[in-house]
């Protein structure tokens, strides 16, 4: 047991730091008692009650909807922005533009939310759109700040992509638009998928920006959870969180299985190539 020293302590402490809160949350979702912090025996009744809580369920559904929509729009806009930054070549103010795309990453959510709210109100007064605040405004707001993340991911993928692939396609007679859809897009597809997932997670997670730009009848799940904390958390929220953790864990597990298999397949292929001479 040579390794039982500082490093293993650091390991255990680090993981405990990360996972004890989540483990506690899962444990208390099976709590019989109504009081969140007092153990009253094992029960699954909160899961049953959750299924009948329309407010929570509709908020969860709304959140998923907003996340999916804003992630999709963000991926389209972010890919276009990333493409422009990576492939436009040198132009005056390129560094400025490059820096400006990443600014929303570091901008405090409060400021993003407030400025968007001001914009929506002004727009409504000027052109009558968006008509009040609701799903549309939340989606637009989420697209605004998640798009920056997608653009950064796509840009860094494109920078590492061998430009001669695109040149070769053009040399063989493909026009630039075709080159993009037939060569570039399939090759950067994994980056686009991870950009979408990141945007989806960020949107699902957001409470600050959504609070500014949401209206009556458009309360997202994080907002519901956040506001219900004020009256004391219902164990139903624990149950809901447990379900979400489960879904995410299963998703990650399957993804890593697939990646593992592809990796092994690739190694076999490469070995075959070397032996094949």
């Amino acid at each position: 047991m040579k390794r039982m020293g500082f490093l293993s302590w650091a390991l255990w402490f680090g993981y405990a730091f990360l996972y004890v809160p989540i483990a506690l949350l899962i444990l208390y979702s099976f709590n019989e008692s109504r009081l969140v912090t007092v153990w009253g025996g094992f029960s699954t009744k909160w899961y049953a009650e959750l299924l009948h809580n329309d407010q929570l369920l509709s908020a969860a559904w709304l959140s998923l909807e907003v996340a999916a929509m804003s992630a999709t729009v963000a991926v389209v806009l972010g890919t276009v922005a990333g493409l422009a930054l990576a492939r436009f070549g040198r132009f005056r103010g390129r560094t400025l533009f490059g820096g400006m795309i990443t600014a929303p990453l570091v901008m405090p959510d409060v400021i993003t939310g407030l400025s968007l709210l001001l914009l929506f109100v002004a727009l409504e007064q000027l052109i009558g759109w968006p008509d009040g605040r609701g799903v549309t405004t939340i989606t637009i707001a989420h697209t605004t700040f998640t798009m920056a993340y997608v653009a950064v991911i796509i840009q860094s993928r494109l920078v590492s992509l061998d430009e001669s692939l695109e040149e070769a396609a053009m040399d063989l007679g493909a026009r630039p638009a075709k080159v993009f859809f037939v060569i570039t897009l399939p090759i950067i597809a994994p980056a686009i998928v991870s950009g979408w997932l990141l945007a989806f997670t960020l949107s699902l997670d957001d409470v600050v920006v959504a609070s500014f730009v949401s209206g009556p009848g458009s309360t997202t799940l994080p907002m519901v959870i956040f506001s219900s904390v004020k009256f004391g958390i219902s164990p139903q929220i624990n149950a809901l969180a447990t379900l979400m953790v489960t879904v995410v864990s299963v998703g990650i597990f399957i993804a890593s299985l697939i990646i593992n298999r592809q990796e092994r397949q690739k190694q076999r292929d490469e070995q075959m190539a070397v032996q094949g001479g």
């Binding site: 396609a169 063989l172 190539a273 001479g277």
Partner: protein
Amino acid sequence: MAVQPIRKPTRLEPWQDPSQTPYVRIEKVTKAFGDFIAVDDVSLSIYRGEFFALLGGSGSGKTTLLRMLAGFETPTEGKIFIDGVDMAGIPPYERPVNMMFQSYALFPHMTVEQNVAFGLKQDGVAKSEIRERVGAMLDLVQLGRFAKRKPHQLSGGQRQRVALARSLVKRPKLLLLDEPLGALDKRLREQTQFELVNIQEKLGVTFIVVTHDQEEAMTMSSRIAVMNHGVIAQTGTPTEIYEYPQSRFVAEFIGSVNMFEGRVVEDQSDHVLIRSEDAGCDLYINHAVAVPSGATVGVAVRPEKIALSKEPPAGSDGRNVTTGIVREIAYLGDVSIYLVELKTGKTVRVTAPNLVRRTEMPITWDDEVYLTWRPFAGVVLTQ
């Protein structure tokens, strides 16, 4: 080491035939990237069916010139004509040329077959014809049984041949090759050199090859343009470039060479005599040079054209003969390289075939030897 061209000389070289029109004409082309001038006022004529090499070190502008032919860069000044058509404003996807990239640029998400078929698909060729032509092309590069594999399932040599097949399948009149053998190991490279020449002769396509490897350029090409700092230093057949370099740069870039400095003392129509402190003797060269008496010139003598002996050579008049002490011997199997230090302090490189086994070799370390060469061996360089 002298490298012999592997192609048979053709009957009449097109560049010497005034009735031929060049297939590719590069006229006073300059390319600047900001303040940096990559290609500087280059003019070249390349003829149909040639295997033309652009040879130079990194940063010599050879790749930029090739990319301008393909249409990936626009000349800052000058014009490029291919088959008589001005290429200005014609995008890469409409040019009658194809290019083989240094990185091969195989599409990683497509099989070998799909990679090769890509160009034909863009032209809207019928499916049955695509299948036929791709099959024939894969057979030509001996990759028929790898058709369904992805690029990452192939070895380096196989990838190189897929790239070649992909660039040839559209039957371009002109193929541009950017360091086509750069990523291969030495043995595979030699073998592939012959394959490339064979394919080029079989298909009759004009090849323009960019390379930094002088041996590669010498063995494969019909003509070579040696480039340095964006300028063409010399254009000629491999033999011309090797035997009659026009400048110090070319003489030193192609093979190895001994340079002697000297002063012209006799300047006749059939010979020149150069007095050289460097060499420690008079240098006699049996051809005229257009330099006035008294001018300082350089004389290049290739290492394999110098003979070593322990006895003074018979019938010598003291010209093209000097003495020195053997300092280093590198035994390479077929030849040995001798580094001989002259009395003047200059070190001269001599290569000699190993006619006898090493243990029986008459010349060894610290021997005093005579170095001689024939009147045709030296080349006078004024630049």
